[in-house]
Amino acid sequence: MRRHVWIPLMAVLAALLTGCGGQEAAPGSDELTLAAPRDLVAGPEDPYYVHQTLRVWEPLVTVDDRLRPVPALAASWSAADGGRRWTFTLREGVRFSDGTPLTAESVVANVERFLRIAPRQSAFFSLDAGMEAAYGKVDDVRAEAGAVVFTLEEPVADLPARLAGFFSMVQSPRAFTASGGFAGKPVGTGPYTLAEWVKGQRAVLTANPHHHGPAPAYERIVVRVIPDANARVAALRAGEVDGLIDKGALLPAQAPAFAADDTFRVLRSPSVLTHYLTFNASRRPFSDPRLREAADLAIDRQAITGTLLAGTAAPGSAFLSPVFGDLAAPGVTAAYDPARARALVAEAGAPAAPVTILVSSAETGQFPYADIAEVLRTSLAQVGIPAKVTVAEATKAVMEAGDYDVFLSAYSVPNGDADYLFRRFLRSDAAWNVERRLGYRSAEFDRLVDLAATETDAAARRDLYHRIQRLLAADRPMVPLAYQDNPIVTAAAVGGVRQSVAYVVDLGALAPST
């Protein structure tokens, strides 16, 4: 009789253990499972439906690892009329996943749709400020002899760079409804099509039989959504997923353990994300340039990037990070010199009340901002500037009230458009500068930014941007703290992993490693 108690219990346990059957069967060599922190599919209400990473659609122009525009669906381009007329020649023999051919008319239809529905929010890149940079000066776009021709109101020196990526997405015009939404699934030219999507859980991609390039190595790729950083890492270690991709796939602190493990491969590629310190120069003490310089000199960037960011970032110096290629000013350095900083504080007079270092609570999840802010606090205190840290939910309101002295935050640009950063953030009339009380007013800076924007000669434009950055390094309205990499990780069995500076992993190039 005694054992009877155990019979039902054993039965339940047995049912649980056999019923679950452990994990999904190990994927065959033609199937791959990845995980990302966010859903890379945004759905039919989004301007793009899917993220560029999934390679369902392709853009006209994309960027290389130095943010230089390179051909994608456009085979080549040329400018005429001093940068007022741009002609994009399309790649031959390209078909959409529904079998219809890519034509100049279909590209024009996509551009017209963007112009019609903007401004429109997106889970990826809003059709807003970046869109204005891309298409703001377009007077007319039309198909001419199989090519796409943009006629502009004023010369634009770098139209291909501004169009690169999301803003030059091309999908079959049949995929769209009259109101600019999607009629069904996205229809692109990329190596994959979206076969299945369970919102917030997974996207299933299958190879596109009509793709113009080489067929991808994996017939099927499942991209799971795992928002929690620890759960992502557990799924990878348990062998349920073969890799973690996308922005913030690995927290900086998680990267070293995988890098040391040769069953995994960590790819640390630079990204467009830069951590900046923004000074409130509209009030004391940082209205005094000597104290801004002292604060800058007090920071040991090497310690922050090496320890707190676990080597996933490089110390910042020039305003534009190295991913901007030759636009980044060479020779601009950010020194660590506490002795000189103390001398400057002594000369200018130490502030009596502690300065406020402001951090957004939204950013403390991805980067160790609370720790970095604490290091900044001690660094400032050591050179004679007492400081305190404030973590706020709504930093905008705090900044607009002028109730901060230093703001720590990360920014990125949608493409290699340097003008955008300077014009939106630091020009004397920039919303960021004025509303957030940066208090930076420099006629010289404004003049140089305007000159660079209309300069069509590449070398002259580059020199102007170098001058702008040298000016910023001296004035210090905002100082770059660190250039952030975006580490991603895959099982060693997965090869062909490449990541662009805009976190785009080319899923079409993944292949079993040999």
Binding site: G19, C20, G21, Q121, A129, A394, S412
Partner: protein, 308 residues
């Protein structure tokens, strides 16, 4: 009974109305400008003009009370608004997540209830037996550890170490086991304490002793008769626990990437997707209020003393 129903119904309606106002104010007065947050996705600073345009489109520039009334009207029609993140209808999003939460809550309740009944019976039927003591001790000890820690240990031992069960995710029948065990262990101890005490008391009641004296096997007397008398406190506690489980075990769902309403809420909070947060709070609060009212009604139906 009818009078009770009417009075309780009126109270419930008032509670729900107050609740809706509270939920609305909580999210409407949250700091930050949703229009700017929406446009800042992708890390790019929006233009002031498009922020203003979006504010107008979302109706954020209207007076607060106007916004409440139109929101309440929409809610009563089953329209919970559209997500800021991707413009999809929030009601659909929540509805899609409810089955996963129900599955997890059901499995967790099974684990908690099963463990509690088993351990309580063992303790009473075989006081002093090492197995019974071990089960009771383990249950109480584990319940003292936060579910987050239990979950991490289970993931690293069972899923990553032994690889016998998935780390979660919601696909496949095995995925529910670890999160359900994590949640179930947390609930089991409370139920066990109530049930064991009440059962120990019940077996000493004259009618149980009479039954045994009349020749009924002790096991049957305890399992069939005493357990029934001992159940009400534990059942009430289980009702409250179930209500908590249904609101989405936020921590456990996040830890096991379980696609339920709790995970949806966490993602929405991170993205400042206010309509989703608002809908989540509203739906779970309404569900809790209704469940508790239902539990009270059940007790009233069973026990005449409660009706007064």
């Amino acid at each position: 009974m009818t009078a009770v129903l009417v009075r309780r119904g009126a109270e419930l309606l008032f509670a729900l109305l107050a609740l809706s106002l509270l939920v609305f104010l909580l999210t409407a007065l949250a700091p930050g400008d949703p229009a700017e947050e929406i446009l800042r996705r992708g890390g790019v600073q929006p233009t002031p003009e498009s922020v203003a345009a979006l504010r107008a489109e979302l109706g954020l520039d209207r007076p607060l009370f106007d916004r409440y009334l139109s929101w309440l009207g929409d809610v009563l029609r089953g329209d919970l608004g559209r997500s800021y993140a991707d413009r999809s209808p929030v009601a659909e999003e929540i509805a899609a997540r409810v089955p996963a939460t129900l599955r997890l809550a059901g499995a967790a309740a099974l684990v908690a209830g099963g463990l509690a009944v088993l351990a309580a019976l063992l303790a009473v039927l075989r006081p002093g037996s090492p197995v019974g003591r071990a089960v009771a001790l383990a249950t109480v000890a584990v319940s003292g550890v936060p579910p987050y820690v239990v979950g991490i240990v289970l993931i690293s031992v069972v899923a990553v170490g032994l690889r016998v069960l998935p780390t979660g995710g919601g696909d496949g029948p095995g995925a529910v086991v670890l999160p359900a065990v994590t949640l179930g262990l947390a609930g089991a101890a409370t139920l066990l304490r109530l049930l064991r005490a009440d059962l120990a008391h019940a077996v000493r009641l004259p009618f149980v002793r009479l039954a045994v004296a009349k020749g009924l096997r002790r096991r049957r007397a305890v399992v069939v008769h005493a357990l029934r008398v001992a159940a009400p406190n534990a059942v009430t506690a289980a009702g409250v626990m179930l209500a908590e489980l249904l609101t989405g075990a936020v921590v456990v769902e996040t830890l096991f990437s379980w696609p339920g309403v709790g995970q949806l809420a966490v993602t929405a909070i991170r993205q400042r997707d206010l309509p989703v947060v608002q809908a989540y709070v509203l739906v779970t609060a309404v569900a809790t209020v209704l469940l508790l009212a239902l539990a009270e009604l059940c007790l009233a139906a069973c026990d005449p003393r409660v009706r007064r």
